[in-house]
């Protein structure tokens, strides 16, 4: 199946989507969470941070569909507002590594030689560097909170993209159309970014989808160690981590944010699969 041959028209769209159940499910889930995040103030039944001592630790009921936590905060509302932060984490936590990794990978792969050797040693170092040391150190240096988390993710995460792109670049730069481009007198910059990169990037796009899940989970792990987002913000990972104490008494505190992570992860993974098929990428 080729994407290029496809000219969008409403009917064609419908046919196209009909053939891509994975894409529909994946994109649908992400779209749902996106809408939820945007419409959070409208759809959330309660204020996500407002405490109410009268309704502490209530199991799910009609008043509180997902129950309440130990401050009497409505879990449903917190889950809805949490979508904002978690989508942001997934997106920002992936975009920067993606951009950095792509650039580095393109340059290293295209130029080869000493540039490549230096970058790849750096990649080796970061790969061998215990993720946790870096993560905790960065967070400790910059203080807990999302921006430190993003910086830590960007510092570590780019290597995967760089490796993917570089490997592709090494293959592509020897390809006939790259040589053809050289023979036609195109500049190196043009060849690198206009001709090779677009062809090399598909694998990274697909990987970024599963990476988004990994980023969310890294966030949750950081929360477990107590260095997640600043309270009283609602973030799913933090909610699961905080709800730990009530796991045997008030299961709903952890279950619903946990399920939300799973759903979002599922959406990302479906979209990744679909993109992989569409872009003709094999992991």
């Amino acid at each position: 199946m080729s994407v290029e041959a496809f000219t969008p028209s409403p009917v064609a769209w419908r046919r196209f989507l009909g053939r891509q159940p994975t894409l529909v499910i994946g994109a649908g889930i992400l779209l749902f969470f996106l809408l939820l995040a945007i419409a959070a103030p409208l759809v959330a039944p309660y204020d996500p941070i407002l405490q109410n001592a009268d309704v502490r630790l209530q199991p799910p009921s009609f008043a509180h569909l997902f129950g309440t936590d130990n401050f009497g905060r409505d879990i449903l509302s917190r889950v809805i507002w949490g979508a904002r932060i978690d989508l942001q984490i997934a997106v920002i936590g992936v975009i920067f590594p993606f951009l950095i990794g792509t650039t580095v990978g393109t340059i290293a792969g295209f130029f080869g030689g000493i540039v490549d050797a230096v970058f790849m040693r750096l990649v080796d170092i970061i790969l061998a560097f215990p993720f946790l040391v870096l993560m905790l150190s960065i967070i400790a240096i910059l203080g807990p909170g999302l921006s430190s988390f993003y910086i830590a993710m960007a510092l570590v995460g780019w290597v995967s993209y760089a490796r993917l792109i570089r490997a592709q670049m090494l293959v592509l730069k020897g390809s006939d159309y790259a040589v053809a481009a050289v023979s036609l007198g195109f500049s190196r910059f043009r060849i690198m970014f206009r001709h090779l990169l677009p062809n090399a990037i598909a694998g990274s796009i697909v990987f970024s989808m599963s990476d988004a899940t990994l980023v969310l989970l890294s966030g949750a792990a950081v929360s477990y160690l107590g260095l997640g987002v600043q309270p009283p913000l609602a973030e799913w990972g933090v909610m699961v981590a905080e709800g730990q104490s009530f796991i045997t008494t008030a299961w709903w505190i952890t279950l619903f944010p946990g399920l939300s992570i799973v759903c979002l992860a599922f959406g990302f993974s479906m979209l990744g699969d679909a993109l992989g098929e569409l872009l003709g990428v094999h992991e």
Binding site: I49, L50, Q51, A53, R56, N70, F71, L136, I139, A140, G143, P144, G145, L225, G226, L227, Q230, P231, P232, E242, Q244, S245, F246, I247, T248, T249
Partner: protein, 478 residues
């Protein structure tokens, strides 16, 4: 008979008593080492330990201890020489974390194997209490000299109820009964295992599943549930822990007494006790913990009154008060308190910006005065209130527990109370201090909370005194 397994959050770091200041270490020291003078089960009285009896000279400078017939775990006799060595070591050793507290000792001499004579540089009312500190435990002079401090710190030769049999670092400390303990008859257990289970849930589940006999640090949120478990006893023992809200007096309007009083009025301690401690704590009204020596129960309890707080702020000409609230990351209770206090302060028109940082850094920032308010707690190590009072009100080197609180009258009274040897007069001085501190709002007393432990039903006499000591020599496993 039997081996008692106890789950706790972390493993020990060392068995060299002078090189640590952590409860996690001290609580095991009390099982392994013996001290000259012990604190009793109620945590209010001193009682003889290795020192059978003692006399104090009238000027309060010379103490003579009679050392009882006791043996170290290797069978060698414990002498006054060892006691003197231990005290001088904690005072002089480069690795000692406690030297400052023992600088008051001028000389410590073993006059004979059973007599220890200590001369102080100046009189000190709390001196006897400091001898009960686990860090001042009596160590074997011959043992440490032949083994070297490092090896000794792994597997010490001591004179307590138990000896270190094996230490699996990061996992557990295995103690076995010390047959040479001078009260060996009292010890029923064959041994004790202190097992590190960092995750609160896992630790509780371990006891519930019967894989541990007991666990300490029961989270407040779990108490009610565990009480329902027929196989378990939830043990709630009074402690000297007090949680308080530090206020940085050096920061702007917080220097004004009215503003601090307004803060005190704006915080609903009862709500904190309910929501955060699940009703396990009690509202605090003094910096001296309830039940501790010289605690003044009638001290002022400011009611929760956000409107009055607002008015007070307005009167003081303060509006839009915005505070930087520092939180220790990873401390669940701390975070929950913060979330609650933030909302309460908002009702009084005060904005609190929460800033969560890693514990070590939080400590650094508090020391640097880089905060407006922050919750902290204190547990007494010794019975005498002097230690805490000096730290909190006595204008010591730490800026009055990092609050930058300044009140010369209070400062003088603290110094005087330290030297006063008459208990009656001394008590009155501490009552005055508690009143003055409350009036000044040096910090905001939040709540007192007990030690909460859990043990299986077949465990008897698993008890922790207010200073944290476990009396495992009395514990029975049926």
């Amino acid at each position: 008979a039997g081996v008692l397994t106890i789950g706790r959050r972390e493993d020990s770091t060392t068995f060299d008593p002078i090189k640590t200041a952590q409860n996690i270490d001290n609580w095991v020291f009390s099982n392994v080492y013996d001290v000259l003078i012990r604190v009793d089960k109620t945590g209010t009285k001193l009682e003889p330990g290795l020192a059978e009896s003692w006399t104090v000279s009238d000027d309060g400078l010379t103490y003579v201890f009679k050392i009882r017939d006791a043996k170290f775990s290797d069978g060698s006799p414990l002498t006054a020489e060892d006691a003197a060595f231990s005290l001088l070591r904690i005072r002089d050793d480069a690795g000692s974390l406690w030297s400052d507290s023992y600088k008051v000792i001028d000389t410590a001499i073993a006059t004979d194997p059973h007599t220890l004579t200590i001369k102080l540089k100046n009189p000190s009312a709390p001196f006897l209490s400091t001898l009960a500190l686990p860090n001042a435990s009596v160590i074997s002079k011959a043992g440490i000299e032949s083994m070297g401090a490092e090896a000794y710190g792994e597997k010490p030769i001591a004179s307590g109820a138990f000896v270190v049999d094996e230490w699996r670092r990061g996992d557990r400390v295995i103690l076995k009964k010390n047959p040479n303990f001078w009260q060996a008859d009292r010890v029923k257990l064959d041994g004790v295992e202190w097992i590190s289970v960092p995750d609160d849930n896992t630790r509780m589940l371990n006891v519930q599943a019967g894989q541990l006999d007991a666990a300490i640090f029961v989270p407040f949120s779990r108490v009610e549930e565990l009480k329902k478990d027929a196989g378990l006893n939830v043990l709630i023992d009074p402690s000297t822990r007090e949680d308080h809200l530090l206020i940085n007096h050096a920061h702007g309007d917080l220097g004004k007494k009215e503003v601090r009083q307004a803060l005190d009025l704006a915080i609903d301690k009862k709500a904190i006790v309910d929501a955060v401690t699940f009703g396990q704590g009690t509202v605090a009204n003094s910096y001296i913990p309830k039940g501790a020596l010289y605690y003044y129960s009638d001290n002022l309890k400011r009611p929760y009154d956000p409107d009055k707080a607002k008015k007070l702020l307005a009167d003081a000409g303060v509006s839009n008060l915005t505070l930087n609230y520092l939180i220790r990351a990873g401390d669940e209770v701390d975070e929950q308190t913060a979330v609650l206090v933030q909302q309460q302060l908002a009702k009084a028109g005060i904005t609190a910006n929460l800033q969560k940082v890693d514990p070590s850094q939080e400590w650094d920032m508090t020391v640097a005065g880089d905060y407006d308010i922050s919750v902290n707690y204190w547990t007494n190590d010794i019975l005498d209130p002097d230690q805490k009072t000096t730290f909190v009100l006595g204008h010591d080197s730490n800026n009055n527990y990092l609050t930058n609180y300044k009140n010369e009258a209070v400062k003088e009274l603290v110094a005087k109370a330290r030297l006063e040897l008459d208990p009656k007069k001394r008590e009155q001085m501490y009552i005055d201090l508690q009143k003055m501190a409350k009036d000044d709002v040096n910090w905001i007393d939040l709540y007192y909370s007990p030690y909460i432990n859990v043990a299986r039903k077949n465990i008897d006499n698993f008890y922790q005194n207010p200073l944290g000591r476990f009396f495992l020599e009395d514990t029975v496993k049926n």
